[in-house]
Each structure stands twice: as structure tokens, then as C-alpha cells.
């Protein structure tokens, strides 16, 4: 129901389509009119022809990249949420783990990618590891923030009703944390994709990152753009999947209520 409402929201869909189509038209016209060579900037029509010429091949590479991204994200999410719960409930973990994470966060994680190739080889596992590492921080930091944002009165109320710490976590803290967790997740899913591509750039035999690197070496610019367009589509779809999950899981959140909050009034 909510999913349907979101997809059928006319203003949003219209503005997205308008902007994309408009950009493609301007691009096409510019390339054709200015006679830009293909190896500098291919026209959108060329790129779509390239994608249509071998869709199976592109899908196979896209699938590999998506796989690294998804598994990496899932691992980051699992570890991240558990770590955040530990940090919120344990002073010791806050002093050690959280401090460590915050200081490590300042290292550009992509710089660690070559290390994971050494440790885990050139296959899927090294990409998953890089992807997970790069996504982890956003999830931990925002989940900690979210768990701490729970209303102290709601916790007092729960204690007055003799709720156990686990009941308070599940009933109060976790739902209170969801808005912040989703903010972190949106960042993390994009970063997981960046991680997967970074891993493929360093060393790989598959994936869209590999496609880009090899095509670039042979000046097949159209192929580079085809892979980039696919990555753009994947990134957008992933982001909106999280956005959709957010709308379904936290319909009470202020930013989603729209006109529904002003329904009932009186005494």
C-alpha cells in the first residue's frame, strides 16, 4: 500500500523522468552537433546500442559486482548493528571499540583495498571484504546515535512496568533507532558499491569495475560509459530500495507522514 503510494507519487516520478530525459537529449544533441569523436564522449544512442549488443555479458558482470556489494553490505549491517548495541550497553566497548572505529574512520578505506587482495586473493571474497569495511562505519556510527536517541521517559516508563533490558531494547530503543539507522544504511549501501568497484579496480577478472578498467585500456570509451550507466542504475535502485524499506518499516516517522497526521482532532 505504502510502496504503491510512493511509486505513484506523480510529482517525484515526473521530475526524475524529466531531468533524465532532458540530460540525454542535450547530451545527444551536443555530441552530434559538435561532432565529438566516440572515444572522447560517445552519444547516449551509442551507449544504449553497446548495452543492447551484449546484454547477457553486461548482466553477468553487473551480477558479480552486485553480489560483492550485497554480501559486503549484509556483513557490514550485521556486524555494525551488533557492534552498535554492544557499544551502547557496554562502557568498555564504548571506550575501546568505538574509539578505535572513530579513529580508523579517518583512513580512506579504499587505500586498504590492495591489502585485501594480498590477504584474500583476486576473487569475490576480497571485494566483499572491502565493500563490508567501507560500509561498516556509517552503520555503526548512525546506529549508536539512533539507539542513544531513545526517549528517556519511555525508558523510565518501561522500567516502571518492570521491563527487562532486552524488552527495552526491542520495544523502545530499536524502533527509536530506525530513522538514524536508515540514514546510515542509505550511505552504507552506496559505499558498499564503491567498495566493490574499488576492489575490482585493484585486481579482478569480473565485474563492472573490471569492465571499465579493461575497456579504458583499449580506448573503448563507449563500453566504459555503458558500465558507468549500469552502475548508476544499480546505485539508484539500491538507494531507493532502502528508501522504500524505510517507508514501509517506519511509517510513523515525521518526514513521511504528509497529510495523514492531520486526520483526527478534538478533546
Amino acid at each position: 500500500m505504502i510502496a504503491l503510494q510512493w511509486f505513484t507519487q506523480p510529482s517525484r516520478a515526473r521530475s526524475v523522468v524529466t531531468v533524465l530525459v532532458g540530460t540525454a537529449v542535450v547530451w545527444q544533441l551536443a555530441v552530434v552537433l559538435l561532432k565529438v569523436p566516440d572515444f572522447i564522449l560517445p552519444a547516449p544512442s551509442e551507449i544504449f546500442a553497446e548495452l543492447a549488443s551484449s546484454p547477457g555479458w553486461y548482466l553477468r558482470h553487473a551480477y558479480f559486482t552486485l553480489q560483492s556489494c550485497f554480501i559486503g553490505f549484509a556483513i557490514a549491517f550485521g556486524i555494525g548493528v551488533l557492534a552498535a548495541i554492544g557499544i551502547v550497553y557496554s562502557r568498555f566497548l564504548e571506550d575501546t571499540l568505538y574509539t578505535l572505529l572513530v579513529s580508523l574512520n579517518s583512513i580512506p578505506k579504499i587505500a586498504l583495498a590492495p591489502l585485501f587482495i594480498i590477504w584474500l586473493g583476486t576473487g569475490l571474497s576480497s571485494k566483499v571484504a572491502i565493500s563490508a569495511l567501507i560500509a561498516l562505519f556509517a552503520i555503526v556510527i548512525d546506529t549508536v546515535l539512533g539507539l542513544r536517541s531513545a526517549d528517556p521517559d519511555a525508558i523510565d516508563l518501561s522500567r516502571s512496568l518492570r521491563a527487562s533490558p532486552l524488552q527495552i531494547l526491542v520495544t523502545i530503543r530499536f524502533p527509536s533507532a530506525l530513522p538514524a539507522m536508515f540514514a546510515g544504511t542509505k550511505v552504507a549501501i552506496s559505499l558498499a558499491l564503491v567498495g566493490a568497484i574499488a576492489g575490482e579496480f585493484v585486481a579482478s577478472e569480473q565485474g563492472l569495475g573490471y569492465v571499465i578498467l579493461v575497456a579504458q585500456g583499449m580506448f573503448q570509451t563507449t563500453r566504459v560509459f555503458a558500465a558507468i550507466i549500469l552502475l548508476g542504475v544499480i546505485g539508484t535502485v539500491l538507494f531507493y530500495l532502502v528508501d522504500l524499506a524505510e517507508r514501509m518499516l517506519i511509517p510513523w516517522h515525521v518526514s513521511h507522514r504528509g497529510g495523514r497526521a492531520s486526520g483526527a482532532h478534538g478533546g
Partner: protein, 267 residues
């Protein structure tokens, strides 16, 4: 100052004896929130605690609720010292503390969820309470679809659900507009007269305290201590119009004079 409970001379329902509460913060001198507070509540008595902000009345309520330990003195419910939230107590806070992710019925049933009882067994009672407080038909609506007054009614239903002997109310109508407040005062009196709980009601409104209470405990601040306890033997049920009678006015005036002596209201 009254110390012993009025009436029969049996054990009072709630006995607070020489209670101190001191907050210590690192690097700063201790703050004495309450000093030598002694009073008692008979069973089924409605007693208000009235005082200016900062007099420790909310602190006192947290101590009685077993949410925070006393620094000195004893709090006893039916002769047993309180050292944790008692089983037969309901609390209403100034903010309704409804959980946005549960509908109104599930919010009312929160104590059942925590006690791991079967929700189905308590749903009829919850619906009956919602109906009593004028919320029939709103059980499947969400808190954010209700007005402030309606939300506070839901939170009163939640406090009454397990039929507690003791009802603690911390400025429950303080955040509501004056008309809604009058309406809920009448309703609270009606519910109290039919269900006869022992009520400890915190407020900073002299008129509200006099209107609702059998006795009014007047507190001063810095540190919070009891100035006097005023009996209000006006007949019940009290209509709103009683506030314009000379008898009512004399109680209000007496309490206001205490506050004036304390140094409040110096224009």
C-alpha cells in the same frame, strides 16, 4: 505540619519518611533536591504535590516509583520498603510517552506485553478503558493521528490497564491547553471516583490541585521540602463551577499566600 496519616490510624497505603535526595556531579558540589520529606497517603486517597518548578516534585515521584534510589529515609508501600518499581503501580508522565510504532490499543496494552501476558485476555479491558475515556473507534489509529488531549487519555488508559492500586501522575495535563485541561480534570475525577485508586498527583497549578485533591502537599524549593499539607474537604463530585465558590477560593488563597511568603510572585 501533618505527619501521621489522617483517618483510622491503620498503616497508610504509602508512607514517605524523612526522605532526602542528593545528586552528586563530578567536580561540582552536591545538589540537594529533597530534604526531610515526610508524608503519607491513605488507601484510595487523592493527594497532590504542589510546588514551583525546581522544588523536586518530579524527583519525589521518581523515588516513589522506585525508578531512582533515595539518598536517605524510607519509602514504604503497604508497609514494605520500595527498592524498585512496585507491581501494582501505574504512571502518567507530563509527556504522554506513547510509542509511535504501536497503534493506540497496543500502546494501552504495553504493560501486558512487558509482563508477557496474553494480549487477547486484556484487549476487552483496554477497549473498555478507551471507551470510558471517549476514545472508542480510535483503537486502531496511531498516536500521531491524535490531538494532545487524546494522546494523554491513551496514556491514562495504559496506566489504568492492570488496575493498579497506586496511580502516580507527573503533571499529566501540564502540556495541554486550558480547556482540554479542565475537561481532563473532570474526567480524572470521574474515573477516580468510580475506580478509587490511591493517587499521587504532581502539578504546579494551585487551582488544579485544590480541585482534584483530598489533600494538597505544598512544597518549597532549594532544597525541596514540605511547607504544609492542606486538607480540601469539599464535597464530590466537584463541578468546574466550584472554582468560583468562596470555599474553593479560600483554599487557593491560603496556598497562594504560602508561595508569596516563599518569595514567589514578587512582581
Amino acid at each position: 505540619m501533618e505527619v501521621s496519616p489522617i483517618g483510622s490510624g491503620s498503616v497508610p497505603y504509602l508512607q514517605v519518611t524523612e526522605v532526602d535526595k542528593t545528586y552528586s556531579t563530578k567536580g561540582r558540589s552536591d545538589v540537594k533536591a529533597l530534604q526531610g520529606v515526610t508524608f503519607s497517603l491513605d488507601e484510595r486517597e487523592f493527594v497532590s504535590i504542589l510546588g514551583p518548578s525546581g522544588c523536586g516534585k518530579s524527583t519525589l515521584l521518581k523515588l516513589v516509583a522506585g525508578l531512582s534510589p533515595v539518598s536517605a529515609g524510607v519509602i514504604e508501600v503497604k508497609g514494605c520498603a520500595v527498592n524498585g518499581p512496585p507491581d501494582n503501580m501505574g504512571i502518567v508522565f507530563q509527556r504522554d510517552v506513547l510509542l509511535d510504532w504501536l497503534d493506540n490499543l497496543d500502546n494501552v496494552l504495553l504493560p501486558i506485553r512487558y509482563a508477557k501476558l496474553r494480549a487477547a485476555d486484556w484487549t476487552p479491558r483496554a477497549l473498555e478503558l478507551l471507551t470510558t475515556l471517549g476514545l472508542a473507534g480510535f483503537e486502531r489509529r496511531f498516536p500521531w493521528e491524535l490531538s494532545g488531549g487524546m494522546r494523554q487519555r491513551v496514556s491514562i488508559c495504559r496506566a489504568l490497564l492492570r488496575n493498579p492500586e497506586l496511580l502516580l501522575m507527573d503533571e499529566p495535563f501540564g502540556a495541554l491547553d486550558a480547556l482540554t485541561r479542565d475537561e481532563l480534570n473532570l474526567e480524572l475525577q470521574r474515573v477516580w471516583m468510580s475506580q478509587r485508586k490511591t493517587v499521587l498527583f504532581i502539578t504546579h497549578s494551585i487551582a488544579e490541585a485544590v480541585f482534584l485533591s483530598d489533600r494538597v502537599i505544598v512544597m518549597s524549593r532549594n532544597p525541596g521540602r514540605i511547607l504544609d499539607i492542606v486538607r480540601v474537604p469539599l464535597p464530590r463530585p466537584r463541578p468546574l463551577g466550584i472554582r468560583e465558590t468562596p470555599a474553593f477560593g479560600s483554599y487557593v488563597a491560603r496556598i497562594r499566600e504560602m508561595f508569596e511568603k516563599m518569595g514567589l510572585f514578587r512582581g
